[in-house]
Symmetry: C2
Subunit: 364 residues, 2 copies
């Protein structure tokens, strides 16, 4: 009888981080595409744009202006999703098991939101920045992490978890080309992160080991999903990837948060970020859109949290076939289960084979 | 001291169906939008398009041709994500608690995929169809549900769950304007659905009642999230909605699947689908994109499954502010937690106030 072929036959893979399944239908990559085309980013932007709210020295949306910063620059988001000061929410549970008690669960959320400009230059992106410049970005993240932890400790600010992320490209809802990321600091650990922590904890109880520590070992044995590697980090297309070219940068040895990074780890992370995003740009010869972010220990973590945390970054890029054709996670994916059209190993293989020089020419 | 204001202050709401939280930041609706603009659907398409793969009598992508159908028409998807025949996947667990045993979980998945043309007319959408024509659509879904259940029972086909859905509009990855939905039939219950079943089960054990039955009662008491109502169904913006104008059509009394519908329920569902989608189109005066789908009992459900199932439909529409500005669930939403910019009550209020005639003029 015929053999099961992972590059042709449908299967589901389990994601132990989020405790959920992904449907893989590798033969689907063959279907023709007649739907929406994305608009690739134009590369004709100037190094300084007088209309940009993020360029050095310029006015911001809500008044005030940016300093003439020379490397990175962090400021408070003018349209923060959470605020430090707001009234307490008193949740009334009648204690009588009413319908409301059963079904309405709500919590107030405080915090603060920041924007981090990666570079004073309006027209560069991470793959076009130097490794020392990217070390500055990692340094800015460290500073923010430490500052907010201190404010929580010393001034009782409602800061529990710092979610650092970047939305790159209009396809990922980014409304300003200027290279920047965000950091939302919340009084609660957000769902995705707390789900990961639950999984780490469960794994440790079952196997007496770190989930991501074991996963790093497994990937280094199998090698088929490794895209890049240096002394401190592995870049893999996770076995359970959802987005076509989704990757994870994962620390090879246990480190709970960026504040604990050595100088070497700081350099090594900057290097991986650069080399990975260069590969991304080269894949479809376009400025590759993605959302990416850091997962690490909460601020002022408890012993358990520190024990379970394992620094890693997720990259979620939407493109599937070319600079203009993306994967839509809609219909079946929203109602049923995420579905992908190529295997993680196929994606890793394509990324691995791309060379390291940044050399795309926009085809517009 | 100041009162907590749900229309201004940030809070998180719990979704008891998916067992997860949503961050609500109502003041965010005020920020300016400078990002990507969507392209609204053009309304100049002809009633019959000779190049359309779905129009009656036309050739299909992979050869063969459609009959000259006059109401609805179901055929097998030419690029099915799952197939009925594929080799068995033999999963090897060494039994020695190796890294692979711990971290690699995979299952083969079989099934079949169908396309359901809602109407022979190329240029209509659900809100433009008559209620009797929509009863035909519901009827086609019933037929498919019954047929596949029978094939599973009598011919041992690998059909366990039928996910019926529609992706409408290019913004939702739909590549053909012709009014159609899909149905993917799988040998496994997909993640979203099995999570709902786990929640129903937990709720029943805790309160001796149906989660959605109780939820219907609560919404009928509070009324602030009801958009539409008839004898058989309620249309609400759920308390825990993620998408800006997300809604749920939920049966007022227990019914496990569409196969169990009375003629009255069939008519009433068609009516709600029509009136809801008319409101959607009127909201931003555009052909409103969405993904929608049915959640119901698995095929040939077990006693427990039948007992827990409660028919409902989810509508996930992406538009936020206008025909061209959508909500992006990116960055923070992917790494942290879904976040919305208006409350469920505000969204319900806006939808409720729109009148019932279909009257948008495309602004292109
Ligand atoms: O099958 P279609 O309509 O070509 O494809 C569309 O719907 C599918 C099911 O929701 C998705 O997996 C695809 O990404 C989307 O483009
Ligand atoms: O804050 P921005 O960049 O304007 O907004 C973008 O990122 C946010 C956080 O991921 C999302 O909630 C928004 O939908 C998106 O448009």
């Amino acid at each position: 009888s015929q053999e099961f072929d992972f590059t042709d036959h449908s299967h589901r893979r389990f994601n132990p981080l989020t405790d959920s399944w992904i449907l893989v239908s590798p033969h689907r990559a063959k279907r023709p595409w007649l739907g929406q085309q994305e608009t690739p980013m134009k590369s004709t932007a100037p190094e300084y744009d007088e209309k940009c709210f993020l360029c050095p020295g310029n006015k911001r949306v809500t008044g005030g202006s940016n300093p003439k910063y020379e490397s990175t620059y962090i400021f408070q988001n003018d349209f923060a999703a959470v605020k430090t000061d707001q009234p307490d929410l008193q949740v009334q549970n009648s204690g009588k098991d009413t319908l409301k008690d059963r079904l309405i669960k709500v919590e107030g959320v405080r915090g603060n939101c920041f924007v981090i400009c990666f570079s004073p230059k309006h027209n560069v992106t991470i793959p076009q920045m130097s490794i020392p410049a990217l070390e500055h970005v990692v340094g800015a993240w460290q500073t923010l992490y430490n500052d907010l932890a201190k404010q929580a400790r010393d001034d009782h600010k409602p800061f529990k978890y710092l979610q650092i992320f970047e939305n790159k490209g209009t396809a990922m809802g980014c409304s300003n080309l200027h290279p920047h990321g965000q950091a939302w600091c919340l009084s609660e650990v957000p769902s995705e992160v707390s789900q990961e922590f639950r999984s780490f904890d469960k794994y440790k109880h079952a196997h007496g080991a770190d989930l991501l520590g074991d996963y790093v070992k497994l990937e280094m044995e199998e090698r088929s999903r490794i895209v890049l590697e240096n002394d401190s980090f592995l870049v893999v297309v996770p076995y359970w990837a959802v987005w076509p070219f989704e990757t994870m940068i994962v620390a090879k040895t246990k480190v709970a948060n960026i504040a604990q990074f050595s100088e070497k780890q700081k350099h090594d992370l900057a290097e991986m970020m650069k080399h990975l995003t260069v590969k991304y740009d080269n894949l479809f010869e376009t400025s590759f859109p993605y959302s990416m972010g850091l997962h690490q220990a909460p601020l002022n973590a408890t012993g358990d949290e520190l024990d379970n945390a394992w620094f890693h970054m997720h990259f979620y890029p939407p493109l599937l076939r070319s600079a203009t054709v993306r994967k839509f996670l809609v219909g079946f994916e929203m109602l049923g289960e995420p579905q992908r059209d190529l295997t993680a190993e196929q994606a890793a293989d394509r990324l691995r084979k791309l060379d390291g020089d940044h050399h795309y020419t926009e085809k517009l």
